[in-house]
Symmetry: C2
């Protein structure tokens, strides 16, 4: 496939509203141009131009493929939801085409390469969801549950598999705080709430969910649950799946209501089958999650440690013996030098370590002081709050920066895994090597990495990759690199994904994660809950 991706992105599919000024700093832009000398740059419109220009606009406005939804199915959906909530206009369909991976961003630049759902359904409640699933099963229509559309693993790609048509099930109307139990500190939130919307509802009562993934601005509660999201405070506050006390899910086989107590021995934990189910079994409609009082205090600090290995050993000590930070992030030498963690504004020798605490005043101060003593004794050098502030101010920017970097002619993507402390450095090296080998020296690949999301037994590794984009075959170039990286994770005993989920992109590796027996078990679960196979075909299970 030739590099038509020099074209600008479709604004209907962009991460968020286009920024008034470029997100990629001049310093970063110069660095990228210097390192990669991208071959296609000259032909690329600058990102500033991307919402103007007749040629681009014409492509974006090109008529989408006709809806494959038959009139009987359309009428049945309309009867179930009201006709105004069965949307087939081009812009609504385009806004529900694909997610936000690098390959998705490339596809957004070439509308013809993009799959659109045949319709977008907007149910108001569980009853309407059950009704539309029945219609879909009757008419052989695939259903793709859709929250913020921020999947980076092809999780919301409107694939119809063997079926006749495909619809996106947009959960935006399920946007209520159903219940707040201030005594037990749990909140029941509907699936369509975005992170900021949920936190605004909770803040009115003095609470916060405080779940802050990089996709925070757009991702939804349902998406967090369906993909086992992890957030920037997950080291201290817990992964999203670990916060879920109860959930409700509407499946073609009925509604599951799971979780009655904070601890139970009443058999297998079926909640854990729906968490991470990625819409392949049904639609998570609401979750009851643990919430916290709004923090009185927040402190985020930067430190410089001499090496990735030394930093990882310190993080392990904090995770195992405490005091456990809420935020922990260790950039490797490459990420530190490139200034990726801080928007290109820092850099230097060694490795940047960020630690942070949020909560009660005394608790935050106590943990911060004890941690500082520990780090200083280990030879770490304090950088104070500015280094962390720089990360903090740019922490939601990276996904959106990719559009501008693509404009510069590079391939840019992230991927992630997790491993035990013992295996962490080996996995770090193996994945980096696999990516560099697959991309090839001539593409000047830069692979940077940070540790985040600490556990007692291990941690996650988050890789950022930038390379010259191969103008002859940009899609194949990245697919080969991704394939090599995922193979390396599987071979090293690490997980194929720590928080991006399986989607379509990782589905071929699911057997490497859970064995053929595990995949067969998941297929049996799907057959029970979704006998007609209408739920998000091709995701989770290839």
């Amino acid at each position: 496939m030739a590099d038509d991706f020099a074209l600008p992105a479709d604004p209907a599919s962009a991460w968020a509203a286009a920024p008034a000024t470029p997100l990629v700093s001049e310093q970063m832009r110069a660095l990228v141009t210097q390192i990669f000398e991208p071959t296609a740059t000259a032909t690329h419109p600058r990102s500033e131009d991307r919402h103007s220009g007749l040629a681009q606009q014409a492509q974006i406005d090109a008529p989408p493929p006709a809806s494959a939804l038959c009139s009987a199915a359309h009428a049945a959906f309309a009867a179930a939801l009201g006709p105004e909530h069965v949307r087939t206009d081009a812009s609504t369909r385009a806004a529900h085409a694909n997610g936000m991976s690098y390959l998705d961003l490339l596809r957004h630049r070439l509308p013809a390469a993009r799959a659109l759902p045949d319709a977008v359904l907007e149910p108001a409640d569980e009853g309407q969801i059950a009704a539309l699933l029945a219609v879909a099963a009757e008419h052989a229509v695939a259903v793709v549950p859709f929250g913020g559309g921020t999947s980076v693993v092809g999780g919301v790609t409107p694939a119809k598999g063997e079926l006749r048509a495909v619809v996106a099930l947009d959960l935006a109307r399920l946007d209520r705080l159903v219940e707040l139990d201030e005594v037990s500190r749990t909140a029941t939130l509907q699936a369509g709430l975005t992170g900021p919307a949920a936190d605004a509802l909770l803040a009115a009562h003095g609470f916060t969910l405080g779940h802050v993934p990089q996709s925070f601005e757009r991702a939804t509660i349902g998406g967090y649950a369906a993909t086992r999201s992890a957030g920037q405070l997950s080291t201290g506050w817990g992964r999203f799946d670990a916060l879920v006390e109860r959930l409700r899910a509407v499946t073609p086989a009925g509604t599951l209501v799971l979780g009655r107590a904070p601890g139970t021995a009443a058999g297998p934990d079926l909640k854990q089958l729906l968490l991470g189910s990625e819409g392949a079994f049904g639609v998570i409609t609401e979750v009851t999650v643990r919430v916290r009082p709004l923090p009185q205090a927040r402190r985020h600090e930067g430190w410089r440690v001499e090496s990735f290995a030394a930093g990882a050993a310190l993080l392990r000590r904090l995770a195992q013996d405490g005091p456990r930070p809420d935020l922990a992030r260790l950039s490797d030498e490459t990420e530190t030098a490139m200034g990726f963690a801080t928007g290109g504004e820092q850099g230097g020798e060694g490795c940047l370590l960020l630690v942070g605490w949020e909560g009660g005043e005394a608790d935050v101060n106590g943990r911060a002081l004890a941690t500082a003593a520990l780090l200083q004794a280990a030879g770490a050098h304090p950088l104070g709050e500015p280094a962390a502030a720089s990360w903090r101010s740019g922490r939601f920017r990276a996904p959106r920066m990719r559009d501008e970097l693509i404009d510069l002619g590079v391939a840019v993507e992230t991927l992630e895994t997790a491993a035990s402390w013992r295996d962490l450095e080996r996995v770090h090296a193996a994945v980096g090597e696999a990516l560099r080998d697959a991309l090839g020296e001539q593409m000047r690949p830069v692979v940077a990495c940070h540790v985040s999301h600490l556990y007692a037994a291990g941690a996650s590794l988050y890789f950022s990759v930038i390379a010259r984009r191969d103008p002859a075959d940009p899609v194949g170039q990245w697919q080969r690199a991704k394939h090599a990286a995922t193979d390396a994770m599987a071979a090293a005993g690490a997980t194929i994904t720590h928080h991006h989920a399986v989607g379509a992109d990782h589905a071929p590796w699911l057997a490497a994660e859970v064995g053929e027996e595990g995949v067969a078990l998941l297929r049996a679960v799907k057959a029970q809950l979704d006998p007609a196979g209408i739920m998000n075909p091709g995701k989770l299970l290839a």
Copy 2:
């Protein structure tokens, strides 16, 4: 059924070796006699006599029912395991009959009422387990995985369902520490290790599992995992299911190897289908669990609080805002007055609260001091370490004391649940009332309770029940009380079991816990993993 249970227990089925002196103190014995004036006491042999006496011995030595295992199946098992590991002698079979519930203890007194497995199989490894499951499927033989035999919910009752015979699969030969990863602080332990054996292996390397359920002396690693055990330090150290990083299970459909990283988003967490599966899907053969360095310091303290409600509010505060104790236990007014928590040696007004910390010196002291300040400010009265020491010295005694109490002519059993903090007192009241109502005033029921196992969102409630035993129908008497209590839990929104598991006894309430849709899903999982239905029939799924 008449009260033949005045007979002594079969020593082959007793909790542990019979104690040289009675476990029930004279004070407790007098109290029990005074309160319940048991009608059958006079005819009971004293517990001191229970291993002598010709009449009893004759009953115990009565020939067991003939083994229903056909010679072809026997030969095939012998070929798979070696003939010496297919045991059909009476005492081995008797030692694998039933668990340790009150009704089991009654059955142990009447060997004719007791179901025995047709054989006891002793595999050495996963290969032999896979082979014996294949033989069992071919010959329609039910397989009951058996660890310590401490189930109090009928989890190891040798029921054959619709099949031709039933064997107990004793895991005692799977007794190795397979691997200790000192960096990641995880240990891979085989299923047949008892808690003390596992801790002895770990202690040699400076580590501990520190999982201490009341069944600690006999229960096994496999049992902990298969029943989602909780231990006395679970408030701080986590339930057993929460400690499991990886597990292996041999099922009739193959071997599952699950868990590759401390955090993952690679789809549903299939580990959570095996945890709590109670042998109904397959045999958990090993688990990789988080372990801790042997604690440098341990401090357990007693406090007196004015009421159950006041104590629960304090525990909630510790669980939600810290410092979190490792051990927490709040006796209600009845349990405090009866001295149940301390072997009858204490008592008095208000409620007894035990809190404890284990770990590094500074950590233990810091948490203990902060907790003391918090409790004292709230008006709690310090009782110091002796009250806790009294609990500690007797903490494994209660299950064994039941035999002596049964000798005294009473009905005695425990049951448990968990609920959110908001619902906790309502559930406490509702279950107590249900038990007292079902037993009836004339049986002078005493229902005592303690809170333990704190979570951010709620806690467990553990009830002890003593009443006059109905000599005309002791089994029916308890079944009605248990039924009423479980109905009350389900109606109040609490879980049907916090750590005793489902077994046969709670199976009728599983739909109350997970819905009919949840039960159907579990049946689909069972059909996938155990298509011939040989695995522990009647347990988990009725």
